[in-house]
Symmetry: C2
Subunit: 222 residues, 2 copies
């Protein structure tokens, strides 16, 4: 069994990898540890063939490393959903709890909750849940702020970095599947007036960068 520390490194590298190779400093920041510690661990991970590492040039996951990262992410997202659906956790508390549980739950446990949840595809923030084999949907939603007046969009995913922001989303009832019409974007990166759930709301420009949406295609009645 890989240590919790190693699992956390792999998970972090996976998340950061969207922007090409991953720098020592980026990992250090994400995990709140010193750069020197990261260098040390990257060498270990490289010797275990979990990452490809070149001094001063950053790091990438190997296939093996990615597989493990996705396994942990699978645990995390299933747990988040279970905490929310079965235990009624508020959105802003699920992340931390899942971060601790993800390293210790057994396959039996995961199988049970997956069944109970009905083989879900997305976690409560809208992230896709990797399959047992490590397949994961590639999603390409964009931040709300990128869209234009009059656009009607559907929320696909919320950024989950800031618990307070999540708490705000929950209070506002801005959640995955929410359908939003952009009424007005104030100039100079000002607030955005939107319409959803039957009323107008104003949301800040910064926050709107953390709501990831797609253009909403009206479905035909059947």
């Amino acid at each position: 069994m890989l240590s919790q520390a190693i699992q956390d490194y792999l998970k972090t590298i996976y998340k950061l990898e969207e922007d090409g190779t991953v720098s020592t400093t980026a990992i250090a920041k994400e995990l709140n540890i010193s750069g020197a510690s990261v260098t040390g661990m990257l060498k270990r991970l490289a010797s275990m063939k979990l990452v490809d590492y070149n001094s001063y040039k950053g790091v990438r996951l190997t296939n093996e490393g990615r597989k493990i990262a996705l396994e942990i992410i699978r645990h995390h997202r299933l747990l988040e959903l279970y905490l929310r659906e079965a235990l009624g956790f508020p959105l802003e508390k699920i992340h931390d709890e899942a971060c601790r549980l993800e390293h210790v739950v057994s396959q039996d446990f995961l199988q049970k909750i997956e069944e109970i949840l009905g083989n879900p595809e997305y976690d409560p923030h809208g992230h896709p849940i990797p399959s047992k084999d490590g397949d994961i949907e590639i999603s390409n939603e964009k931040p709300l702020v990128n869209f234009r007046n009059g656009d009607v969009v559907i929320v696909k995913r919320l950024s989950d970095h800031d618990p307070q922001m999540l708490s705000y989303f929950e209070k506002m009832k801005i959640l995955p599947s929410t359908i939003i019409r952009i009424v007005d974007k104030a100039p100079f990166n000002g607030p955005i007036t939107v319409f959803f759930n039957g009323e107008s709301q104003i949301i800040g420009n910064e926050i709107s960068k953390n709501i990831f949406v797609e253009l909403y295609e009206e479905k035909e009645e059947n």
Copy 2:
């Protein structure tokens, strides 16, 4: 936060404490580690005021140490019950899973599952669940083997050390609350014929030492 190792030591010492002070070797056996390691840790625990420790004379929990041990045991037993009741785990698998989860679940998590379980008093093996303040029922049931022909007893608790035995109990439907009549004890520590759930069964002498029961007092109809 105390390390998982420390939590495990305290839990183990608590369990062994029924027989007065606890020896280094007993702890070592229980945790599957060397005696030398235990001596080292006992010194640390003593310096943290979690145990009273005298070289060569064994160890006892302080009140503070006992409080923490009971907290962990509370986690463990609530989790065992939840795994069984809510997730349908088989009896023999709940212990290991709970051992891993008990160190990482939050108070929020425990509160939720306690609610869902309806503030239970016993875990699936029949052990009392400590309260939040660390109060725990003192129970005084005796092994089935101690009773005599004709006695009618109620199962209070099953020994949870051997998963295979638990699996056997489950298959036999010998569980806490089961009412058993002792029909015949074969001589020379032979097997015991018992009657319960409408049929006779024969159980081995060894196994009967792991079923803890009390004399059953017939309740009046009301």
